[in-house]
Symmetry: C2
Subunit: 258 residues, 2 copies
């Protein structure tokens, strides 16, 4: 089977123009089929403030009312996605931007309004890979923003980490699928304040212990749940770390195994 | 040769939610390969006002500084394009949203800064149809917003009518290509105040006379120049009128011929 790399980048790259340019230049050198998934960074919050729309967060997750949905659609699918695509094209990487509505690639259910009403937030129900496979077979690179749809005309705000893991799972029977979560740290750290304290391997058993001992907590919990969800659904390889791990094998990072 | 319909819609449909829904439902019933091109309507101007960014126009054309480029990228490629795609999917039309950067489909040159500096405005240089052909062959419908790129990482604001005619020309050797400009009137009118005074056929010769007699003027001039540009470059059929002309053969409209 061919290898497919699914790479998710977040705010530390998106919000830093020089870092983004360097990353996209490096990303373009990857010769295997690949899919890029990007988060939104701070731009959506900045635009909301500029438009005097209140930003409502519960447990670190955005409450997506209609105005907020419009803002994230404009920022994620518009400004960020199209600028990434244009820069990839400049690096001779033939990219096409996607939301989950495009090609009906990712269908979500509206998240139940209880216990917390997150508004137009979507939980992924189904990934349709057919169209994406056609593109990958033609050396085209899909670039996903964190928006899906319900197949009834409604766009939905969806967590970018989840989109990456669900895409990886969707392709796992067709490709040797590798999932990379790039973020600001070298990986999962034993000591959150020491970037050299990378835990190089976490499996289901050691994960339990790390959670019990509160070494892994807060924002890292959903990220790692996405990792284990992927590795338990046929995804071959799941890694967390700085994006450098993709381009230099000597860079320490965390690998998730069963 | 198979028929390809390239259909451009403007503000009268984009800015009216009910009209847009009806159009997209009708559009989805078209069984030939098809491409939709949409303008931006009034939303970009509205957002600019909300963000307190000045809107600068010269001769009806927007001056696109960096802030304005960000706004149109957000509104055209984000909000409008993704909502159209989601609604087409709800109508079982498998659409994918495009700017000219996506798939490197439309490459433009930055418009010369003299006599008027329009900022980040692009004049179409080349249409690459390969990726779009793959999609059309797989019953996927591309939906274009009015943004292109220079292949060096720069997005450019580009006239939607021009995008439609250049796409039509790009496909003219591969498909029996038909180009439809949908707008708020029944076609080119003898008397601009009488929607029943449709001129049903205009050719190169009668066009000259109509321009000399100032029957055709202002905003209609560039639209008709796009029409003749297309018809003089192998496009098989060019029509202007209300979008109803697509779905009802008895609806009067203007057809452009050599």
């Amino acid at each position: 089977m061919k290898t497919l790399k699914i790479i998710k980048i977040g705010g530390n790259i998106i919000d830093n123009e020089a870092a983004l340019q360097q990353f996209l230049s490096d990303f373009s050198t990857i010769t295997t089929p690949k899919i890029l998934v990007h988060g939104g960074g701070k731009l959506a919050t900045k635009l909301a403030q500029q438009m005097q729309v209140d930003v409502k967060m519960v447990d670190g997750r955005r409450i997506t009312d209609q105005e907020t949905l419009d803002i994230i659609t404009m920022v994620y699918a518009g400004k960020i996605n199209k600028n990434i695509v244009a820069q990839l094209q400049a690096n001779n990487c033939n990219a096409i931007g996607f939301s989950g509505a495009d090609g009906n690639t990712i269908v979500s259910d509206l998240r139940p309004s209880k216990p917390i009403d997150y508004g137009f937030a979507g939980d992924v129900k189904k990934v349709n890979t057919e169209t994406l496979e056609i593109l990958l077979n033609n050396e085209i690179t899909p670039v996903f923003c964190a928006i899906t749809h319900d197949k009834n005309g409604q766009l939905l705000n969806t967590n970018a980490d989840t989109i990456a893991s669900e895409l990886a799972i969707g392709f796992a029977s067709k490709y040797n699928t590798e999932l990379y979560y790039c973020f600001e740290k070298n990986g999962v750290l034993k000591n959150v304040n020491n970037d050299h304290s990378v835990i190089e391997n976490i499996n289901t058993e050691s994960y339990k212990t790390l959670v019990e001992n509160k070494v892994i907590f807060e924002g890292m919990l959903p990220k790692l749940n996405n990792c284990f969800h992927a590795i338990n659904h046929q995804v071959q390889k799941v890694c967390i770390g700085k994006s450098d791990m993709l381009f230099d094998k000597n860079i320490k990072h965390t690998t998730i195994t069963k």
